[in-house]
């Protein structure tokens, strides 16, 4: 936002032309749409930017818009943000919000809205906690927003929180997501296994890098695409497309991928009639990329039994 302002200023400077901003009229509807959720995440972003500005921090990382995302993916991203905020809340002695549980049901924008509001609330509390006196942000409503737009905003919020807290996503952050994926697939295996599980080779693994983990996640997702084509596994929007990344893979990229995979695996589980909430695996520290890699290979073996 600030950058756009500056660019506008330069344009005024160069051309000597004034320009007035005519924002779109805010439209409120009773039905929750991605646009509503987007508005909330926008406000959350403004609040977060004010904190960063207050802290004299300037986030300069550019985050590309992802391919099309479904509400279930947005929900997972929201959960990721909430987990990060919980860490801050714990550290700051604030009231810690509950971790949203995975529910085996179709995720609707309203479900995401609930999490988004939780995020906004947490953000405002944090703002006050940082001593930022600016009034709560109000962002005008924009129509024609998609879950993908919301996903992008949440990705920005997630990245900016890392920037604010000075944290980087670690393999341990990724590990428990991978374990959750494996657990859901295990459940699916119990219900729908078409062949026996070929135990994952007990070859000692070592020296895996985030890039290897990312490739393993990518391979898993490819198998899920195959699975989704089988009768009974049909899910809304299909398995999400993930951009192939170059060699520069950090745990952050892996987490982003596995969040998407988790959302899709959860939806696949729902498609075959598995009911009830699936517990997010508890956080375990001191994990390395090799650990995540092993879990993903186990998950891969489980998918093999379903194909």
């Amino acid at each position: 936002m600030m950058m756009r302002l500056r660019v506008s200023f330069f344009v005024f400077f160069m051309l000597g032309l004034g320009q007035t901003h005519s924002g779109a009229a805010i439209a409120q509807t009773s039905q929750v749409t991605p646009a509503h959720v987007f508005q909330i995440t926008e406000e959350a972003l403004v609040e977060l930017d004010s904190i960063l500005e207050h802290q004299d921090l300037y986030f300069n990382r550019h985050i590309n818009k992802p391919p099309e995302r479904q509400p279930r993916h947005v929900w997972q991203k929201s959960r990721e943000v909430i987990v990060k905020l919980q860490a801050y809340q714990k550290m700051s002695g604030l009231e810690v919000f509950k971790t949203p549980q995975l529910t085996v049901k179709v995720v609707m924008p309203s479900d995401v809205k609930m999490l988004a509001e939780q995020i906004l609330d947490a953000m405002r509390i944090m703002k006050r906690n940082y001593g930022v006196s600016a009034p709560d942000a109000v962002v005008s409503f924009s129509t024609r927003k998609t879950p993908t737009d919301v996903y992008l905003n949440l990705t920005k919020i997630s990245a900016k929180l890392d920037f604010l807290f000075g944290n980087a996503v670690t393999p341990s952050d990724v590990y428990h997501i991978a374990v959750t994926i494996r657990n859901i697939l295990q459940n699916m295996h119990h219900v729908r296994a078409e062949r026996a599980l070929v135990p994952f080779a007990s070859i000692p693994l070592k020296g895996k890098r985030p890039r290897d983990v990312y490739e393993a996640g990518f391979a898993l997702q490819a198998k899920l695409k195959g699975l989704e084509k089988k009768p009974g596994y049909k899910i809304e929007g299909g398995i999400a497309r993930v951009e192939v990344r170059g060699s520069r893979i950090t745990p952050s990229e892996v987490l982003d991928l596995l969040d998407v995979v988790l959302a899709d695996v959860n939806e696949l589980a729902r498609s075959i009639g598995i009911k009830g909430a699936t517990a997010l695996s508890p956080y375990e520290g001191k994990k390395i990329p090799t650990d995540v890699f092993r879990i993903l290979r186990e998950a891969d073996a489980l998918v093999e039994t379903l194909l």
């Binding site: 500056r6 660019v7 330069f10 160069m14 020296g207 520069r248 990329p289």
Partner: protein, 956 residues
Amino acid sequence: MKAARAKHLESRPISASEQEGFFNYFHPSLFVGLIVVCILPFILTFFFDVSFASDPYTINIEEVATWGLSKEAITDEMFYSLTGGVQHGLLEWSAIVIAMLCALLTLAHYRINKDIIAPIIGMTLLCSGLVDAFHAFASLRLTDALTDTKDLVPFTWVLSRGFHAVILIVGVIIALYLVKPNTPSKARKERQKGNRRGLYIIVGVSALFIVVSTSVIFTVANSLTLPQTQYPTALITRPFDVIPLGLFIIAAPLLWTLHKRVLSAFSAGLLLILMPEITTQAHMAFGSSSLYDSHFNIGHILKVVVYLVPFSALVMDYIRTYAELQAEVALNERIQVALVKAKDKAERATNMKSEFLANMSHEIRTPMNGVIGTTGLLLDTNLTSKQLHYAKTTMKSAEALLELINDILDFSKVEAGKLDLEKVPFDMQRLVADVSEVIAIRCREKGVEFLLNFTRDTERYVIGDPGRIRQILFNLLSNAVKFTNEGHVLLTVKSVSRPSGDLEYLITVEDTGIGISQEKIEQVFNKFDQADTSTTRQYGGTGLGLSISRDLSEMMGGYLTVDSVHGEGSTFSFVILVEKDTDNNEPGEGVNSLVNLDVLKPLKVLSVDDSAISNEIVLEQLEGYVTKAVSVNSASGCLDLLKEAADLGEPYDIVITDFCMPQMDGKMLAEAILDDPSLKWPVLVLMTSAPKKGDGSTFKEIGFTGYLTKPIFPKEIPLVLAASYAASISSQTTPLVTRHSVLGAEEQRKEKIILKNTHILLAEDNAINRMVAESILAQYGCFITPAGNGKEALELVRQRDFDLVFMDCQMPEMDGFEASQKIRQLEAQVDSKRIPIIAFTANAMQGDRERCLEAGMDDYMSKPVKQEVMEAILVKWLPEKVADPASVVESVIDHDVLATLKQLLDGQHLDIVESYLTYAQETVVAITAAAANDDAKAVRDLAHGLKASSKQVGAV
């Protein structure tokens, strides 16, 4: 050629393309492309949210270390984390490298186009590159600056940009100052004129820029604190970057003016760099809030473009120049082809001209032979003083004309490449002496001293072309005499043996004449060109002599040079290579002389001459022959020295003095010496360059023992001094010692050869030429039988025996070639003795000699007939006929009777002599027959008649 091309470029009218300006030098598509490059990142960023940022790779290296990765993998991760810095570094270095290449290209541009603007701007780019390099080092943590890195890196960016803007403006202002508002061609002309000045300016400006840039770097690197330049959350994130932005906007009109004054792709490129300059600064000032963000990277990419634009413009200038050169090369090739054709044509014309000249000279030489010969004969008759004057004038004019013809013939031979050099053994010393004798006479006539220095160790006997060497010597010496009115002419001859066995002769002719100015000195070797036309008017001459002499020197493996100071004199030197005549072991003159040189050994000699060179020559000749040889340059000095030596009890034994000296001449000196008994009366020898009739008796009376005329020939001084000393101590009265009295008898004998009973057939159709040849041959006592053509000659050879035949080549009915062939055939048929046949013709071109020899002739002699050449031929081919001249001259011919006869008959005496010879031959035959018949009476009567007739013609 170069000058002509430069003149053409300067004078050509300004082309339409030059007048068009900007887009003619910078193609519109490139212009549009540049706009796109500058604007597109902004559009993509602003409207399409495209990012050019280097994504920060936030990673905890300590944690990565726990992942169990290999070293290589960890290194990879670390490199990933440095991506932004590395990208920045690469962009900066790209800019620096391009800036440097640009600067180099501008220097090359200056070298080719002499355009001073390019290197000045190139230097600004280079210095900007230097500060950029400092910034790049700072960002890569390679500098050892005192301040904190977080301030140093952004500040050095601002510094580099600000410096770049300022130095560019300064460079452009200097350029505008140097290039006044003129038309391009005039500006080019001015720039070309001021080459050296331009170079100084470039060096000066470069030094200034480099000093300023390094000072700035040094100052910043040594600053403890630097101002904050980044305000990420402010509206203007990098306010310092606004300064260069403003400066670039200010530079716009300056660069436009520069482009208008200097129309080139480079100046157009300079104008265009403002686009990337301004957009770079805009992105940085208003967009970039942190390192490696999108605007930061766009700014740096555009900075590379900033340097790329002038670089590309210079390349375009090169392409343009190359295209122009290609066109010029094509034009030059066409001109070259035309020139080669013209040259061939000119050479053909020259050859034709040479042939024509050779033919013409041949045609002229034939009648000239008659003119000179008959004039010579005329001069031998009794003439009135008026007739004598006219005849002499005719002779002089004819000789001058012949000389001119000879020059033209030589010139045409050289031009046609048909001049062949002879290789015959000869005595170089003799040749030099012969030439010197002639030149000395001319010098005497002008009152100029002629000096000869044939240095001691100079080889005498060599193999080469004496005629051509003589020609060069005559030419140089004649010129020296001609252009010298006072002072001296010095001829120096030296030889050096080369490792190859050849001899290198260095012959120098020095004079104290009018000299040649430096501007004219090169012209003297031009054909038909003397130093200036006034020289030609005053001194005459064809202007061919020096040119021919130089050509001859070069043909003899050497060269001819001149060194001269106007008004002081000239020195012409030529070097020639000749072979050493190892077969000739003839000792030098004087070695066989009766003069005993050993008498000189204990003696002390004093040389007196106001000419230092003359003294040097005397001392050099005496070196090794005497105990002591000293020179002094005045008579008074001589007297002092003599007195001093006498007082010391070591008086000088011989004084050799010049006659012509200022204040006290040689005669007065001698009188002074002889008047003073205390001087022990040394032997006195006089040298003079102005001998007079009666000198011998005059100087003998004064008290001189020896007498020499200048020039002094090699080894003469020791001989004359020894002879003089020997005469002085002799109890008998001796005549004055001269060079003639010490020379061997053989030298004198050579001048009087007579051929005994020699019958010569002279085949010549031209009556005058025949008469001249007959007259010369008659002097050698030959019996001549004339023939009017080859046919007659052949018939005479059939009938009678001849000792030698002179055969003219061009004759009616049967030419000399055919006649010679038939004579040889005749000899073969009757198996008779081979008669020497000497070609006798006016032809003088290459191939004539070969043609004569092929026809069966034995030797070759060109017209006009010269006595010495004729004599050489006779001695060469009829050595057995050469009689002892003394006996012949004294006992056979009474010259007084012959002279009386000649005077009385006024030219008709030859007829009488001829009749006498016929009568004598017939009488001898009749006496022989009578004797065979034992008819004593008849023998007596016939002999009596012959005796009486012989007395009448002096054949005593």
